[in-house]
């Protein structure tokens, strides 16, 4: 973050207030906080990188105009996701109408995707931010272990991170506790999570991420 005097822990509502007040660095902070989220929405809908950049620019330009009249400023993420989804569909519809473009994934996107998956995006954002705040060794270890659906190879992870294999289990558990604490402290596990939790509690095997027994356990 370049020369920003804005508190990086500021809530979205505070950040929006500071942007409206033209506080130096506030807009830059907001862009850094949300650029990847906004860019990911059209990308996930199958738009090309350059189209996704156009959508992102359009969304942030709209935000500049809409910010002052925004009633629930704490719902900034929801606003951005909704507008990015709408703008992305405009591009998709334009492409379909003009019959242009090579046969790409866009052609197969179901209409149900028109409604943005707010809970899903917010969950991704919350976990990403929490991992960022976790930082360092913990972030590295959790990503190495859990960023794929397959069972992690503890031996490989130990070698890659230069850790004794016997210390991975305890370190992992400590890092997971810290991650949950960060999520809880930032409200990242409230609201949209509740429904999902209920569903998972009722499910047989949980998340479908199959994990073997960790060595030594």
């Amino acid at each position: 973050m370049s020369g920003s005097g804005v508190d990086s822990q500021a809530s979205d509502a505070e950040l929006v207030e500071r942007c409206i007040a033209r506080e130096p660095g506030a807009w830059e902070q907001l862009v850094h906080r949300y650029a990847s989220l906004v860019y990911s929405v059209p990308r996930k809908l199958g738009l090309r990188p350059e189209e996704s950049e156009d959508v992102s620019q359009s969304v942030f330009a709209s935000l500049l105009t809409a910010m002052e009249g925004m009633r629930d400023r704490q719902s900034l993420a929801k606003w951005l996701i909704t507008v990015a989804t709408r703008q992305s569909w405009r591009v998709i519809d334009g492409r379909r109408a003009s019959g242009g473009g090579p046969a790409e994934a866009v052609e197969t996107i179901p209409e149900s995707e028109r409604t943005p998956d707010l809970a899903g995006w917010e969950r991704r954002l919350a976990v990403r931010r929490a991992l960022g705040l976790l930082g360092g060794r913990c972030q590295e270890l959790l990503l190495a272990l859990f960023s794929d659906r397959g069972s992690p190879d503890y031996q490989q992870v130990a070698e890659r991170l230069g850790m004794p294999i016997g210390s991975i289990g305890p370190t992992r558990n400590r890092c997971l506790r810290k991650l949950l604490e960060i999520l809880a402290s930032r409200g990242g596990v409230a609201g949209p999570w509740d429904e999902r939790e209920r569903a998972l509690l009722g499910s047989e095997g949980g998340m479908g991420v199959s994990r073997g027994h960790q060595p030594g356990t």
Binding site: E53, L176, W193, L201
Partner: protein
């Protein structure tokens, strides 16, 4: 998270599916409500980590997004102190669609060429069709400004609005820009220092 809500190793093992089948029912049966919630929460967190996450926005895009604020400030200044800023309406002095025979004299015949003139400078645009890499129209432009674009106060850009998009594209130091657009009509405004040149609406098709 209070101490009693911190998941113990059994709770974490349960969430990770690292408990033997014969122990699982016993462990699950003995879970306190808050532990059961933590198991579910942890599974949801791990599932989120395992799915494709957010895609990092390219650095060039982030720079452009950051500069939007500067542009908005400028637009506000235009509104407030309009008299200090100059806005010119450019007129078309050449359009190869209207007069294709002359296109050859204008440095090439590829695509449509449009030239504008306004007080202080001129703008040349070239519209060409899709190619094998991109199925959208290509729009390139060059701004000729008395004294040079780099002397205009810096931060020149072109704003294109139409087809539900509102794009700003930075001019390079030579006053040139290039972008891709879906076919359609776009309002084009060039901003240079304290000057705006309104090119009107161009049919990019």
């Amino acid at each position: 998270m209070s101490e009693e809500n911190r998941p113990n190793d059994d709770v974490i093992a349960l969430a990770l599916g690292e408990v033997r089948a014969e122990d699982r029912a016993r462990l699950e049966g003995g879970l306190r409500a808050q532990d059961a919630a933590i198991v579910a929460r942890l599974r949801a967190v791990l599932e989120t980590m395992a799915e494709p996450g957010l895609e990092a926005a390219p650095a060039s895009l982030v720079r452009r997004l950051v500069s939007l604020d500067r542009r908005a400030r400028r637009a506000e200044a235009v509104e407030r102190f309009g008299a200090e800023l100059r806005r010119f309406i450019a007129s078309v002095v050449f359009d190869s669609r209207v007069n294709p025979a002359l296109a050859g004299f204008r440095g090439g015949t590829e695509g449509r060429q449009v030239a504008y003139s306004s007080e202080g400078g001129g703008v040349h645009l070239r519209v060409s069709g899709p190619d094998e890499r991109d199925d959208r129209m290509a729009l390139r432009g060059a701004i000729e400004w008395a004294g040079g674009v780099s002397d205009s106060g810096g931060g020149g850009w072109v704003r294109l609005t139409g087809r539900g998009v509102d794009l700003s594209i930075d001019l390079d130091d030579d006053g040139m820009f290039a972008t891709r657009l879906e076919p359609g009509a776009y309002q084009i405004v060039v901003a240079l220092g304290d000057v705006e040149i309104d090119l009107g609406v161009l049919d990019v098709a």
